[in-house]
Every structure is written in C-alpha cells, then in structure tokens.
C-alpha cells in the first residue's frame, strides 16, 4: 500500500500547512466585536485586543478638535469616549443618533482610538414611520393581518 502512503503524506502536508497558516499569529487578525456595555465588562483583556465597538452616537457629543473628531458612543447607559484618528473623511451617515461601529483600540486612559468608523442612519433598511413622511401625518406600519 505504498502509493496510499504517498497520498496520505501529501494530504497531511497540504492540510497541515493550511492549519498552520490559519492559526499562526492569530491575535493580529482577530477583532473582538463588542457593544459598549460588553466592552466595559471585559476588564484588562480589552487593552490588548483589536476591537470593533458598536453603539449609538450620543446627541450633541460630536466635537472637532483640530484634525481629530471626538464623540461619545452610548448604549444602555454605558458610555465610551471615542477619538477618531483615521485619515478618511467620516461617512455622511455619521451624525447625532446614528448607529456607529468604531474599529480600533482601547487606551489605558479609557479613550477609544478608532482608525475606522462605520455608521448607518437608524432608518437605513428598516423603515421607521417618522422618516417616511412629514411629522403630524404619520400612520403606523401594521402588518396585513389587522386590515
């Protein structure tokens, strides 16, 4: 069964190489996805990891200081101060009340330095009646059953 030994050997080499590539230096390629309250429960572990934090942009918190933009992400009474350090202009959808995803690292001073910000308006995919029409004449969206 020498030839099957050869096949087995080759297959082991191929699969082994791939496993090695997949697992080596894994901390560099892993990003933790957290909400603001979850981040605060992480403790010291949070300082070394790459993080993607999701929350709402607190109304009135966006400040521009020199070249940097600062704002506060808020969710369920937890708050996180974020400084945007990236070079790309912030997305148009980034504004008060928008849902945002900040990509970066948490510094020891408790400030989150984000290299990338993704944002979406609350109404992007799911319609909210208030955004569909002028205020004062907003009907509710019911499902067909109540008709």
């Amino acid at each position: 069964m020498k030839k099957y030994g050869k096949f087995a050997g080759l297959i082991v080499i191929v699969v082994g190489t791939l496993l090695w590539l997949a697992t080596a230096n894994s901390t560099e390629t892993q990003t933790y996805y957290k909400t603001v309250p979850e981040l605060q429960k992480m403790g010291d572990k949070a300082y070394n990891a790459r993080l993607r934090v999701g929350g709402d942009v607190e109304t009135g918190s966006i400040q521009r200081v020199g070249n940097q933009t600062q704002f506060v992400l808020v969710q369920e009474a937890s708050k996180l101060k974020v400084v945007y350090t990236g070079t790309e202009p912030l997305p148009d959808t980034f504004k008060d009340g928008a849902q945002a995803l900040a990509d970066g690292k948490l510094e020891r001073d408790g400030v989150f330095r984000a290299a990338k910000i993704q944002a979406k308006c609350a109404s992007k995919y799911e319609a909210k009646p208030g955004n569909l029409m002028k205020p004062g004449q907003a009907p509710n969206i019911n499902n067909g059953k109540s008709i």
């Binding site: 030839k3 099957y4 050869k6 096949f7 080759l10 297959i11 191929v14 699969v15 190489t17 791939l18 590539l21 997949a22 894994s26 560099e28 390629t29 892993q30 990003t31 933790y32 996805y33 957290k34 790459r50 993607r52 521009r64 070249n67 933009t69 070079t87 790309e88 202009p89 912030l90 997305p91 148009d92 959808t93 995803l101 993704q118 979406k120 308006c121 109404s123 992007k124 995919y125 799911e126 319609a127 955004n131 569909l132 029409m133 002028k134 009907p139 509710n140 969206i141 019911n142 499902n143 067909g144 109540s146 008709i147």
Partner: protein, 670 residues
C-alpha cells in the same frame, strides 16, 4: 390587487405542498395519475408565483406606496430600471425572487424530462417541491411582500418611499443579485436529481449526464454574479478594492468553490467510475451552501456591510438546513453499497491524483472561508466573545491556496490518466518551466522582491504556455491533416471537443484573473485635501484640481471635482470623481473617476469635504493590472459558453444512433 398577490402566494404554498405529497405518494403507491397531477401542480405553482411577482413589480413600477415593501425600497424619483430592481432590493422581495426562479427551474425540469427518467422524476419533483414549499412558507408567513401600510384598520399610502439603497442604484448591481440567485437556485436541480438517483438506487450515472449542462449553466451564472459583485465593489464603493472578505461576499463564493470542485470531480465518475459518493456529497454541499448563502445574506447573523438587518428568519433556515442535511447524510449512508468505486488510484502523478488534489484544495478553501465567515458565531458559542477575522487572515490562507490551485490548473490537464511517464512530463513541461524560471529571474533582476507576486507571475506564465501549447499541438495536427490554416484548425479543434478546449479557455481566464490579483501587491495610495488649483502626486501621475462644482437633482445632491491628469509633464485628460448624497435614503455614494489601462488603473475617489467644508478630500490610487481581472472574467465566461456547445464528434455520433431525435435537436443546437 394586494389581496390577489397575497392569495396567489398562499395558494402557491398549498399547491407546492400538494406537489410534494402527490409525487412522493404517487411514486410509492404506484399511482401514475397522482404523479402526473404532481407535475401539473409544479406548473400551477409557477403561474401563481409569477402572478404574485408580477403584482409586486407592478406596484413598484406604479409607486403604490400603500405597500410597506414599496415604501421601504422604492421612491418616486428613481428611474424605472431601479424601480424594477427594487424587486430584489429587500428581504421580502428577494425571497419572492428565489421562489419565482425555483418555480421556473422546476417547471423547465418537469417539461424537459416529461418523457425521461420516469422512475426517478417523481422524487426529483418531490425534492424540488419541498424546497419550493419551504421558500413559500417564508414568503407567506415570515417575510410577506404584500404587507400594507395602515392606520386604524385603514390602508394608507405614504407620499413618497425610502428609495432603493443608493449603493444598489448602479447597473451592474441591479443585475448582480438575480445572477447570483440564478446560480444559487440552479443548484437545487442537480441536487434533486442526485437525491432522486440515490432513492431509486440508479445503477448508472444518469443523474450526472442529465444535469451536466444544468450544472454548467448554473456555475456560469454564479461566476458572472461573483464577478459583477467584484466589479460593483470596485466601481461604486470607492475604496478601490474588489473583494473585502465580507460575509456576504464569502457567502457567494462558498457554493462557487464547491461547485467548481463538483464540475471537476464528475469527470472522474464519467471517465473512471470513481468518486461516486464524493460527487453526491459535493452536489449536496453546494446546494446547502447556496441555502446557507441566502441565509447569511438575509438574516444578518454575521455583521456585514450588506446585511445590517436582523430578523427571526434565521430559525427557519437553520431548521431547514438541519433537516435537509440530516436526511441527505442518512440517504448517502444507507445507499453506500450502490456507490462503489469501479477503479482505484494508481499513481501520485496522474490525472486522477490531480483531480483529487484539486478537490482537496477547493474544499479546504471552501471550509476556510466558511470557518472565517462563521467565526464570530463559533467563537461566541465557544468562549462568549464575538470575534471576527479580518481580511489579513483570509489573505494569508487564500493566497497560497490560490497559487497551488493555479499550478494545478496548468499541470492537471496534461497528466495522463492512470500514470504519467517521466518522458511525457519532460515533453509537456520543459519549455513552460524554463520560460517561467527565466521570467522570475528577470523580475528579480528588475528589482521585484515580493515573494508571492514572483511565484504568481511565474505560475501564470507556466500555465498560459501549457494551455497555448495544447491548442497549438492539436491545431497543428489538424492543419496538417486537413489542409487548413492554423486559426481555422484551432476553431475546428475546439469544436471537436468543446468540453476539453472550453475548459482550457476557462483555465486561461483564471490565469488572466490571477495576473490582475497579483497587481494588488503593487498598489499605491495617496490622500489629500485640495482646493481649486491645488495639485497632488500619486505614482507617476500629477493631479491638478481645475474645478469643483456642486448641484442636485430630485434623486440626489452631488459634489464633483474636475482633475487634470498628467504624467511626466504630458497632459492625459481629466477625471471627474463625484460624491452623491441620496435624499430619500439619506445615504452617500461615490462615483469614482477611473482611467483604465491594461497596465494600471488611475482611480480617484471624491471622499468628501474637509471639516471646514472648503476643500475636497481626494483619495488617489494606482492599481496595477487590475483590468486583467475583468478581462479574465470575460474569458472565463466565454470558455464556459464554449463548453456548453455540443462537440461536433458527439453530434455525429448521436445522429447515427437515433436519427429522428438527433435531427430534431441538431437544428436547435446550431
């Protein structure tokens, strides 16, 4: 009208359920009239789903904002094309599109096989109708496209809708989802035949012969869909990439990878009677990956730029997948003895072996992509932390995998069946091998140090030369024998064995695409805030902003910069990158300015206005060789079309065998 639509999909659900039961019970109890009524039910489902789709499309076109779906995904000022495209712009509509495509495919299958495979067809219909029933459950009870807007039991229309996501208001994107869906849905057919063949314990490879063309067409749609997606990302998203290992992109790639493996391994079964179990496993895997792909795209279970929406639709998909996979595994295990291999592997350097490794690598890459895509879910279940893997992780795995596959593309087809002699290896590979080494040497001498790029260019030349020499050798023999010029002989050669030479063309397309991918190693990027009159440099280009304008129409507002491009002092023309902000959806998009040339693209993105609103932020990129990806994609599509043309030799054979049937078909085939 709205009630008619809702009624149509409800009836379609009942009829699809009936089709499943009638076909299966009719087959088991041997009641031909039940079987026939099951097949007719398939047609009825098509009529009903088409009616429902028609009503949805009509209300989109007419901007009937009493429909919740229309209000969310369309608005008055959109062009007609995009109003139509809103059909698949949201969850409810795209699931209806799934149902529509599936019912169309099922009807075509029932019609074309109305006199063939009588023992197997009831099961095929049963499987297809089961899938149809599942999707109609979603259409009716989970994501109903015919929900109305209402206040106090009164149906009310809103003045204007939210509009289709502006990212989708782009021609390639408008047809990208249906292309992918045509591919996704299409794999239901070979899957159904495989299951039918398993249940009825078919002795031969009937299911493979019947579905070969299906599989190829489906694969063609998938390839086109994936390519369109990449082209869309490059031209619209404004970040200059064509692939970001986003979960939804991965979802479209997964069935393509396993489908490609399937296309190769069926040859082993046809030629050698090997890998029978494996083929059933592959076609089932591909089908379930298609369902998984729809699930990932639709449920938002994995965070992605495409799928922000979360919904409870996931439970239905998970249940369907679990039941389907369990049933398939049970069937395969139960029928193992009918799937015995007729021959065995003889040598490591043989065609069989190269197919084996092709499959191993494709499946490994498929598993890797699946693992990476689901890693947030897996890690959350295992450790409680939701961890995602970024593009670097995929690249580290997929670049070596891709290079190995590229090499196999070149050597595999030239290995002989059973065992390859050293002499034939030398004859086939000596010249291409030496040429590639010379090329790599020259590139190193020219200062290129990127190791993967060097390997990739070397392999590309190697594979291209082996493919060209295959054409040349064959064509020369024909040219000498039948007194033709080389060009006509090449056409003749391809026509005699379209599958083989079409396959070579597809491989050539892959090589060209790899040349394009490799260019990625040499990208250059520059960002600058510019006022009118300012200039910047990227690569060899000097860019000067000669004008900046803004304006708006009823659909969107725009900012546009006019950039004069020059290279070494020579004026090359202007590019006009534009930033749009869509009013209805309050979302921005980029219309990038691209100067496309075979050697490199100059790519300008109007990223936005600076914080003080005075200067424009311009991102300038140089992307070497990127056009070859699109050219390679077209060659790949062309090659697949060649594969679909019946071979000349086979047609003559068919004529001598069954004269009446072949004649009727021959006219169609030409």
């Amino acid at each position: 009208m709205e009630n008619l639509g809702a009624l149509a999909i409800l009836l379609a659900f009942c009829v699809a359920l009936y089709a499943t039961l009638a076909s299966v019970i009719g087959r088991i109890k041997n009641k031909p009239f039940l079987v026939v009524s099951g097949e007719r039910a398939v047609y009825s489902v098509w009529v009903l789903v088409t009616l429902a789709s028609g009503i949805l499309v009509y209300s989109l076109m007419m901007s009937d904002f009493r429909f919740a779906y229309v209000a969310e995904h369309s608005n008055r000022s959109m062009p007609m094309l995009y109003k139509f495209a809103s059909w698949w712009g949201g969850q409810e509509g795209s699931l209806l599109l799934w149902s529509f495509l599936l019912s169309t495919y099922a009807s075509v299958v029932v019609f074309t096989n109305r006199r063939k495979h009588r023992d197997m067809m009831p099961w095929v219909v049963g499987v297809l109708a089961t899938i149809q029933t599942f999707f109609l459950v979603l259409n009716n009870f989970v994501a109903n496209p015919f929900q109305m807007l209402a206040t106090d039991k009164l149906i009310v229309a809103v003045p204007d809708g939210n509009g289709l996501s502006p990212l989708l208001q782009y021609p390639a994107m408008a047809i990208h989802p249906p292309m992918l869906y045509l591919g996704y849905v299409g794999f239901a057919v070979p899957f159904a035949f495989a299951i039918g063949s398993l249940i009825t314990k078919q002795p031969g490879d009937a299911w493979i012969h019947t579905t070969r063309r299906w599989t190829l067409v489906t694969w063609l749609f998938q390839s086109t869909g994936v390519m369109l997606g990449a082209a869309w990302a490059y031209h619209v998203l404004g970040w200059g990439g064509y692939w970001g290992w986003d979960p939804v992109e991965n979802a479209s790639l997964l069935p393509w990878l396993s489908g490609t493996a399937f296309l190769h391994s069926v040859m082993m079964q046809e030629k050698k009677g090997m890998m029978k179990v494996w083929n059933i496993v592959l076609v089932s895997t591909t089908f379930f990956l298609c369902i998984l792909g729809t699930f990932l795209t639709r449920s938002g279970v994995v965070q992605s730029v495409h799928a922000f929406a979360r919904s409870d639709i996931g439970k239905f998909f998970v249940t369907f997948l679990a039941l389907g996979i369990a049933a398939t595994i049970y069937l395969i295990l139960d029928r193992l003895e009918y799937l015995k291999s007729e021959s065995e592997l003889e040598s490591v350097i043989s065609r069989e072996s190269s197919f084996l490794f092709n499959n191993l690598i494709l499946l490994a890459s498929c598993f890797a992509v699946l693992w990476g895509t689901l890693f947030p879910v897996i890690s959350e279940a295992a450790t409680g932390d939701k961890i995602s893997l970024d593009g670097d992780w995929y690249n580290r795995l997929m670049v070596p995998i891709g290079l190995f596959l590229l090499l196999l593309t070149g050597v595999g087809p030239l290995f002989a069946w059973r065992k390859t002699s050293v002499e034939s290896l030398r004859r086939n590979f000596q010249l291409p091998g030496i040429a590639s080494l010379v090329l790599v040497g020259a590139l190193v001498a020219a200062g290129m140090r990127h190791i993967y790029a060097l390997i990739s260019f070397g392999f590309c030349l190697f594979v291209a030369l082996t493919v060209i020499s295959e054409f040349y050798k064959g064509a020369k023999a024909i040219a000498a024998k039948s007194d033709m010029n080389l060009l006509r002989a090449t056409v003749e050669l391809t026509h005699r064995n379209t599958r083989r030479y079409g396959g070579y063309l597809v491989h050539m397309g892959i090589v060209l695409m790899f040349i394009g991918f490799t260019g990625h190693a040499f990208n250059q990027a520059e960002v600058k805030e510019l006022n009118k009159g300012d200039s910047m440099r990227v690569g060899v280009y000097t860019l000067k902003m000669i004008d900046m304008q803004q304006g708006g129409n009823e659909n969107y507002d725009w900012h546009r910069a006019t950039m004069a491009v020059s290279k070494n002092g020579e004026y090359l023309g202007t590019l006009e990158p534009e930033k749009r902000f869509y009013r209805a959806s309050r979302q921005g998009t980029s219309e990038v300015g691209i100067r496309q040339r075979p050697n490199e693209d100059l790519y300008l993105n109007f990223a936005g206005m600076s914080d003080d609103q005075k200067r424009a932020v311009i991102q300038a990129y140089v992307f070497p060789l990127v056009s070859w990806i699109w050219i390679g994609g077209l060659v790949l599509i062309g090659g697949t079309f060649v594969c679909l043309v019946p071979s000349k030799v086979k047609m003559q054979y068919a004529r001598t065998e069954v004269v009446g049937y072949a004649k009727k078909n021959a006219t169609v085939q030409k």
